[in-house]
Symmetry: none
C-alpha cells in the first residue's frame, strides 16, 4: 500500500459539505499509477487526528491530508502530525514574511493567529501554496513514511498538487506504472445480466473490468496499468472491443457520453433534427437534451403536453382518440409524436405518455406504465413499457427519458446484421 487520504474537518462529519477533495485526489493518484486503498475523514479534534496519523503510519508510505491548515484555533493538522511523532514545531521566517506580504497586498492586517501557519515540524520541507496563505509540508518523520499536507480549499489544494506534489510523487518512484481507464456505458441491460455476459472479463487482472449500476444505465470501467500511458491504452483496446462485440447495441457510449449526447451527435452527423412531446416526464427529456452543449443545432424543442387539452391544442391529438383509448395508449403516443414533428418540422420526434404515480394507476394501467413513441421519416412506432411503481415517481420519469432516447437511437441507426 502506497498512499492514503486523510481529510480533516468537522464540516465533513456534519454533512455540511461533500468531500470533493477526496474524489479529485483519488483521480490524480490513479492517473499517476499510485495505489491507494483507503480514505479516512476525521474532525477538527487533536486526539483523533493524532490517532488517525499514527494508524496510517503502520499501513502506508504516503499519507495525504487535506484541511486544518488555516489560522483559526480549530485548524490542528500541522501540530497534531508533529505531536504524533513527538517532534517540536519550528518557525519558518520566510513563510511568515510571505503571509504578511500576501495579506498586505489584499489590504488586510496580519493577525497574530496567521503566524501559526509559519510553523512546521522540525525537519519538514515547505509545500508551497501559490494561491493562498496556508502552505503545506512534505515531511518524513520516520524512514519510508512521508506526509503531504494540503489546505481544504479546493483551488489551493489543486494548485499545490500540480506545482509541487505531483512532480515530487513522480520522481520518488512510489508510482507503480501508469493507469489508463475507460468507462463504457450501457442501456437496456441489467447490471447482473451484463456481469454474467462478461464474467470472464470481470476476472481479468490487467486490465481490470468493473461494473457500476446507475438509474437505468449500467457501466463497465476498464482500467489498465503499464509502464507508459500509451502502453496502458494499448492494453485497453482489445478488452473494449470484446465488450462491444458481446454487448451489441446495448453499449451506447464511453466516458462522458450520455444517451442525450449520443443521440444528438448521431442526428447531427445525419443532418437531422429532433422534437419532443412529453406528458409524464413534463420536460425531462428536453432538459436532458438541452444539458448537452451545442444541442441547439439538432434539438428544436417541442411540447410539454401534461394536460389532455394541451395534447389536443398544441399537438392535434383528437379528443375522440383520447376518450376511446385513454391518454396512456399507443395511438395517443403516436399522435403526440406525429404532432410534434408537424408542429416543429423536425425529422424525428419522441413522445411519452404514462402514469408516474403515486396516484392515477388502475389494474389495467398501473403506476409505472408508459407508452413511448418514435416518429420519423418512415412513420411511427409505439410501445407500452412497465417500469414498475416501487422506486417512485422520479425513477419512473428518469427511466422513461432514458428509454425514449435509447429507442430513438436504435430507430435512427438500426444495429447492423
Amino acid at each position: 500500500m502506497v498512499a492514503e487520504l486523510l481529510c480533516i474537518g468537522t464540516e465533513l462529519l456534519l454533512g455540511n459539505i461533500t468531500n470533493g477533495n477526496a474524489r479529485w485526489l483519488a483521480e490524480q493518484l490513479a492517473a499517476l499509477g499510485i495505489a491507494h486503498h483507503r480514505q479516512a475523514v476525521v474532525g477538527d479534534n487533536r486526539e483523533r487526528l493524532i490517532a488517525a496519523v499514527r494508524e496510517a503510519s503502520g499501513r502506508c508510505r504516503v499519507p495525504i491530508t487535506t484541511g486544518g491548515l488555516g489560522p483559526t484555533p480549530d485548524d490542528l493538522t500541522t501540530e497534531a502530525i508533529a505531536a504524533a511523532f513527538d517532534t517540536p514545531l519550528v518557525e519558518h521566517p520566510e513563510i511568515w514574511r510571505d503571509i504578511q506580504a500576501r495579506l498586505g497586498a489584499r489590504g488586510r492586517v496580519c493577525s497574530p493567529s496567521n503566524r501559526k501557519q509559519a510553523f512546521l515540524p522540525q525537519g519538514a520541507q515547505v509545500l508551497p501554496n501559490p494561491t493562498g496563505t496556508a502552505p503545506g509540508m512534505i515531511w518524513t518523520p520516520v524512514p519510508g513514511f512521508t506526509v503531504l499536507t494540503f489546505p481544504g480549499v479546493p483551488s489551493e489544494m489543486r494548485a499545490m498538487w500540480a506545482a509541487t506534489a505531483a512532480p515530487w510523487l513522480r520522481q520518488t518512484g512510489v508510482s507503480e506504472g501508469v493507469f489508463a481507464s475507460r468507462m463504457l456505458r450501457f442501456w437496456g441491460v441489467s447490471e447482473s445480466a451484463l456481469a454474467e455476459q462478461m464474467a470472464d472479463l470481470l476476472a481479468l487482472e490487467n486490465p481490470t473490468v468493473a461494473p457500476y449500476a446507475g438509474a437505468g444505465e449500467v457501466k463497465l470501467r476498464i482500467t489498465a496499468r503499464a509502464a507508459t500511458e500509451a502502453a496502458a491504452e494499448v492494453l485497453l483496446e482489445p478488452v473494449e472491443a470484446e465488450i462491444r462485440v458481446r454487448s451489441g447495441a446495448a453499449c451506447f457510449g464511453v466516458n462522458d457520453d450520455s444517451l442525450a449526447s449520443v443521440v444528438l451527435e448521431l442526428l447531427r452527423h445525419r443532418g437531422e433534427t429532433l422534437a419532443v412531446a412529453e406528458s409524464c416526464t413534463g420536460g425531462g427529456i428536453g432538459a436532458a437534451l438541452a444539458a448537452v452543449p451545442g444541442a441547439s443545432d439538432v434539438f428544436l424543442g417541442g411540447v410539454i403536453a401534461y394536460a389532455n387539452a394541451v395534447k389536443q391544442a398544441l399537438l392535434g391529438v383528437p379528443a375522440a382518440m383520447l376518450e376511446s383509448h385513454g391518454a396512456v395508449s399507443d395511438p395517443v403516443a403516436c399522435a403526440m409524436a406525429e404532432g410534434a414533428r408537424r408542429a416543429t418540422g423536425a425529422t424525428w420526434a419522441i413522445a411519452v405518455t404514462g402514469i408516474a404515480g403515486p396516484g392515477g394507476g388502475s389494474a389495467e394501467k398501473p403506476v409505472g406504465l408508459v407508452h413511448l413513441a418514435i416518429a420519423g421519416p418512415d412513420g411511427c412506432t409505439s410501445e407500452g413499457v412497465r417500469f414498475g411503481a416501487s422506486r417512485g415517481r422520479a425513477w419512473i420519469q428518469q427511466l422513461t427519458a432514458g428509454e425514449a432516447l435509447h429507442r430513438l437511437r436504435l430507430a435512427a441507426a438500426p444495429p447492423e446484421g
Copy 2:
C-alpha cells in the same frame, strides 16, 4: 464514539464518483443527534474490508456501511463482514422470493448471481430495501456493536434509511437525547448574507442553526435537543419564527418543500393553473414541476421553444420581434409567456430565454444572461438576469429554473406590507 461510516467501492478510490452518500448520512446522523467521528472508504477487496470492519469494532457502536451489496463478484460487503466475525452466511428464502418477484415484475429473468443477495450472516436481521433488490442488514455480531449495511445506490440507501434505519436508531437510545430539526429553505439570498443576518442565531447552542449552500438555494438547519420530541419542537418554534421575520420573502419553505412544490400549492389553493415556455432550460422548469406528485391539477404543460421557429410557430412570437430585439430579450420573453398562456389557457405562465453557453455569448449578451418573464391575469413583466458564465451550463440552467419559480411565487402572492 457512537457511529462510523464505512463506504465501500473501488470507484470511490479511483475517483470515479464523489462520495455523496457519506455527506447525506452525515447529515442524517447529525439530525438524529448521533455522534460520528470518523468516515472511511475502502475498495472492493475482501481482506481490506475485513480489516476495516474489525478496526471499527474496537472504536464504535454502530458502523454504517454503503456499497458492495449487489449481485456481482466484486460485491463483497456481506460476506466480508460475516468473515470478520467468523460467522457463516445463511439464505433467507423470503429475500430470494422477493428478488424473483421484483425482477419478474420488470420482465427480467433472475440470474443465479442475484441469489447471493439472499444470504446474510447467521443471526442478522434484514434491513428491507423498498425500492431495489439488494437488502441490507442489521446485525449485532458482538454485544454493543451493531452493523447496518446499505447499498451504494443513493435512492435505495435513502429509502431504507427513512423506512427502517432511522426509526431503529431513534429507539436504540444511541442518540444523546432526542433531536428535532427543521430545514428552512431560501432563494434570492447568498449564504454569506444570510449568515451575517443570522450571526447571533448561528452562535446558539440549543437549538443550533447551521447554514448549507446549494445551487442557488440556501438552507438553514435548526436542530434542538431535549428530553422528548415535543419539548425539542417547542425549542425550535421561536428560532424558526425569528428567522422567518428577518428573512421575509426569501424563505420559501421548510423540510421537503421545493420551489416547484410551493408554487404548485400556492396556485392550487387559489384554483389557478400554470404553463411554461422554455428556451435555454429546454424543459427543466416543466420537469421540476412534474417531479411533484399531484402536479397535474395545476401544471398544464407548455412549449419547449428551443429554436426560434418554434417560438414563432407554437407561441406566436413575431418574426420581426425576434429580428429586432433578438431571442434573448424582454419583449421576446413576454411574448413567449403570453403565447404559452394563450395556447394552454393557463392563469399564469413562466417564460425563460437566455444563453446557457459555453458558446453563443457576446459582449452585449454574455453567457449567463437570461430574460425571465411572468405573465398572469394582470399582464406580463420581464427582466434580464446575469447568472455569470464561470460555473457552467448546468448551473445556469438550474439557477434559471429556480429563479423563474421564485419570481412566479412572488408575483402570484406578493409579500404583505
